[in-house]
Symmetry: C2
Subunit: 184 residues, 2 copies
DNA sequence: CGGGAGAGTATACATCGTAAACATACGCCG
DNA sequence: CGGCGTATGTTTACGATGTATACTCTCCCG
């Protein structure tokens, strides 16, 4: 098989996802169309298909970007604060991308960015003294709750509730978690 | 203003939503289009607009139907079982309508069916001994978690995890709730 | 009986995702 | 150094979608 090299691309998958994220940030998910992304990159719509399988793949990439942008607190902080920071980041992300954020609940968390976030939760739970056997379960429960809460807030399910009330909700949960950890 | 009465309709909003629910059940949300709904009712697409403001309204109606179909356990059962049954119903619904179910997280819970479900949770929390002041917060947290969990499971976020593991997750949560109630 | 209103229809348009066929530039191998 | 293989980008086209607009019909009330 003869090896050959093609010409240099004028756009990359990264740029495609950048444009997608930007469009989603400006006009929500409904502003994301193959044509809009292409035109932002000064390129024909069909050109995107060399960097993205189809629109679903584009959206998957968008979700991956959302997760990848999450600041993951390092191990220097005590674990309860790491949990708080994670929750705060998720809420912030959900506020910026209310509809795209919902897609976090749709697909298995097997992507690199999802694994990275999960590992951070695992580490925090370990530091909290959870048994190695319980950790996966606790991670599922916690991540489900955090994502669901952030998504609900971002999408407006809580209506016009003031931010302080929702902050209070999460503080209450934190208190329960700390109490549970102390008990164990 | 002269009052007049038009001819008798051949379809009603209820039938439109019935058809929508049926289509969603058979082919998922992507099978729901104005044209598909109309054709199932043997009617022109534009006829739907006399019973539904636009497609978003149609989908809102679908979500309302999902909530309305939820069996809400009566007060004859002890509150922990009522919570279990509610959770089981939500999971069942999410399994049947994975993508439509996600929309539950999108809009404020001001509709009749949503209020009905919320009142059921309120009642269970009251019976559990929660203070009247805490109940709204606890309801927010519980409903968010239950919906998020059911949606995650239905949409496949947990991957190929076996059902027993997820059952175990919820039992663990139930145990925590009961312990919290006993402590209070 | 006549007219007004609401239900349903016909037609049309902009937009969407993407399939298929083609054009182009590039670097490797002869 | 010349041309070949290939990945990149373009052109064109198609079917599907949501819905605006303008109609027709039917029915009941005054």
């Amino acid at each position: 098989m003869s090896e050959t090299v093609p010409r240099q691309p004028q756009i990359s998958r990264e740029q495609v996802l950048d444009a997608t994220l930007a469009l989603a940030g400006e006009g929500g998910l409904s502003a994301v169309s193959m044509r809009a992304v292409a035109s932002r990159l000064q390129v024909t719509p069909m050109a995107l298909y060399h960097h993205v399988r189809d629109k679903q793949d584009l959206l998957d990439g968008l979700v991956e970007r959302l997760l990848g942008e999450l600041p993951i607190p390092g191990a220097e902080l005590p674990w309860p604060e790491r949990l708080s920071l994670l929750a705060a980041s998720l809420r912030e992300s959900a506020r910026r991308h209310p509809d795209a954020f919902l897609m976090l609940l749709r697909r298995p968390a097997n992507t690199p960015a999802a694994r990275r976030a999960r590992e951070a939760l695992y580490a925090a739970l370990r530091d909290a003294g959870a048994s190695e056997e319980q950790i996966p379960r606790l991670e599922r429960l916690l991540s489900t709750f955090m994502i669901g809460f952030a998504a609900s807030e971002g999408a407006g399910r809580f209506g016009a509730l003031d931010r302080e009330t929702l902050d209070g909700d999460l503080e209450w949960v934190q208190a329960q978690i700390r109490a549970g950890a102390a008990r164990a």
